[in-house]
């Protein structure tokens, strides 16, 4: 279980509070108005932001002071999820060894991950030679190979067209259920949340609320969320 215990994150004059827990294997959307702190919440879990107070724990172990790479977390960012100067296979291999000294077994794992996301023949290409959808698949293949129990998505597919985005989200859901990973996904689109996330954390007015049922929340939005959704 991922727990936020009286967590307080401060960035300049902005403060976000969170006191909540996420069940293992849950798929949770993080929604809220722009600038409310959705990415801030994810960056705190990933270890890119120091928290001012409280603690974050996973399976009972405190990870508040753990360096980013040692946390049980794999993250996809809004952009730059692949290194443009490395091949797709190298990009995925980094999920196993940050110095890319891969054993034969590990190379087999990389090939397997490529096959799993449907990029079997494209391992030697550079990201620039792939389409947007293929780049998304390559990044997901790395997340898959990292085998981290928590997966954080900070709108990595926002730049894709609607059909491609849906395809990516379905792949994310499939991979998450295969690996049993806990998923936290920032989204601007309520339809994304409805599609693959049974639960939702609402971030608004400096507070991240505990996860609630997505459909219920979106059908009966509180005033702040209603204003944001615009209906």
């Amino acid at each position: 279980m991922l727990r936020f215990e009286d967590v307080q994150i401060t960035q300049g004059d902005f403060t976000l509070r969170a006191d909540l827990s996420v069940d293992p294997g849950a798929r949770v959307a993080v929604i809220g108005p722009s600038g409310a702190g959705k990415s801030t919440l994810l960056n705190a879990v990933a270890g890119f932001l120091d928290i001012a107070a409280g603690r974050i724990s996973w399976d009972g172990g405190d990870i508040t002071a753990t360096p980013p790479a040692a946390r049980p977390v794999a993250m996809l960012f809004q952009d730059n999820n692949l290194f443009p100067h490395l091949t797709v296979a190298q990009n995925i291999g980094l999920g196993l060894r940050p110095d890319l000294r891969l054993s034969t077994d590990q190379r087999v794992l990389v090939d397997g991950a490529l096959d799993r996301v449907g990029l079997g023949a494209l391992g030697d290409r550079r990201p620039g030679q792939l389409s947007g959808g293929q780049q998304g698949r390559a990044a997901l293949a790395r997340v898959l190979i990292q085998r981290k129990p928590i997966v954080l998505l900070d709108e990595p597919f926002a730049a894709l067209g609607p059909a491609l985005k849906t395809e990516m989200l379905d792949l994310v859901a499939e991979l998450a259920s295969e690996t049993g990973a806990t998923l936290l996904m920032v989204s601007h689109d309520p339809a994304d949340a409805r599609r693959i996330c049974p639960q939702t954390i609402l971030v608004d007015e400096g507070r991240a609320a505990p996860p609630t049922d997505t459909a219920h929340l979106l059908d009966n939005p509180p005033p702040g969320l209603r204003a944001y959704l615009g209906n």
Binding site: F48, A70, F83
Partner: protein, 529 residues
Amino acid sequence: MRRLPNGKRRWRARVTRHAPLPAWPGLLAGLFLCALILGPLAAVTWRAGGGGWPVAADWAALRFTVLQAVLSALISVALAVPVARALARRRFPGRGPLITLLGAPFILPVIVAVLGLLAVFGRGGVLNDLLLWLGLPRVQIYGLHGVVLAHVFFNLPLATRMILQGWQAIPAERFRLAASLGMSPGTVLRVLEWPMLRGVLPGAALIIFALCLSSFAVALTLGGGPRATTLELAIYQAFHFDFDLGRAAVLAVMQLALVVAAAAPALRWGAATGFGAGLDRVQRRWEAETPLLRAQDAALIALVALFLLTPLAAVVWRGLAGVADMPAQVWRAAAVSLGVSLAATVLCLALALALAVLALRRPWIEALGLMGIAVSPLVIGTGLFLIVNPWADPARLALAVTALVNAVMALPFALRMILPRLREVEDSHGRLATSLGMTGAARLRWLILPRLRPVLGFSAGLTAALAMGDLGVIALFADMENATLPLQILRLMGAYRMEQAAGAGLLLLILSLALFWAFDRGGRDNAAV
């Protein structure tokens, strides 16, 4: 809290914990740099204390240094304004190569340029042949006007590029608006161009002034005598002819004070000077589309091309004649210079990279790296000589010191190019690398070096070419056995073996350009987008 254009909070590397790259190489580089710069300065100042008060000749050298720098700056900038305007508003075949050529003097060895200028303006030069044929008296290149001529040759292109950037920073829409309002060329100058020039010209003049203050090789070859001696040259003479270390130290302190006073403002303006990316745009200028202005611009461009190309062509022409019978020392000196140049390049890049990594977290480190611009090589050389002399024969360390000083002199340029790019790389890819656990060597090998490759190549090319052609500190230290190629050329000139000097000059020109080309090309080849 800074925000990115898309409204996101900017992610910053955490300062305290889990730094992905170690700080110690940068700290080590910083200490090394401080020792290398401040140590000699301290030695010079301490020694100057026993050297007495400056004598009349020293004040004369100070006056001449300032005078030639002022003249060089004013003339370069005054000539550059119409040339830059012509380039900004005219499209013609060869414009691209000409703009590239304007960048060339930066890596052109001074001694080669001097050979070329002598071939055109010297005693037996093209100009005097022409004057003789016309029945006019000869002109003399040696003295103040020769020094200024050489400085204009080097700095007119620099000024032109800086001012051209200013012109291209004026939005094209303004000129379109001016055309639709029917403004005359004079009105456009007053309303659009003059405000830009007022902003750009002082900086350009100040930078050239500061560069000319440390002129050594030009003053050594074209100046000299009590009436045309710069402080740097006076330091060299105090060493070379009188071996008066006390007086050299006094002069070095004067030079230091002068350069520091000029460098502080020049550095501030210098932030705006790039290496001319995006100078290939031409603005359509409706008001200037008259036959008269067209002819005027064409004439200006032709004159500048002639002024820059003739000396270079003369180096090649005369060099081809001399290349056949170059003495063995020339080839040995060429090999020595290559070694010095490569050593300086490796050291400079290592220092720049280490300092840049540290500067990500401690921005003030950048200022440390820029110190190299504010000190003159001969002052550092004097100081190092003073430090080394009691312990060892300085001549034995001549090449090592030359490589060291060149690395420090090129460091500001390398740092200026590497640091912004490193910031970009860390901003766009640093978080992913950190989340994957890429630290230390892995981060360097798989993220930073590949992403920085083009700027590293360009910096290496620049450093290698500058070090290859440097004629400064080596002149203080070297004995007859040790010579770099520029020093060897100077010695051949001193012995009036001009044919051989020309051949060696051509060799030096080719090696400098080849080094720059090879490194720059190597950085861009295969570079992933």
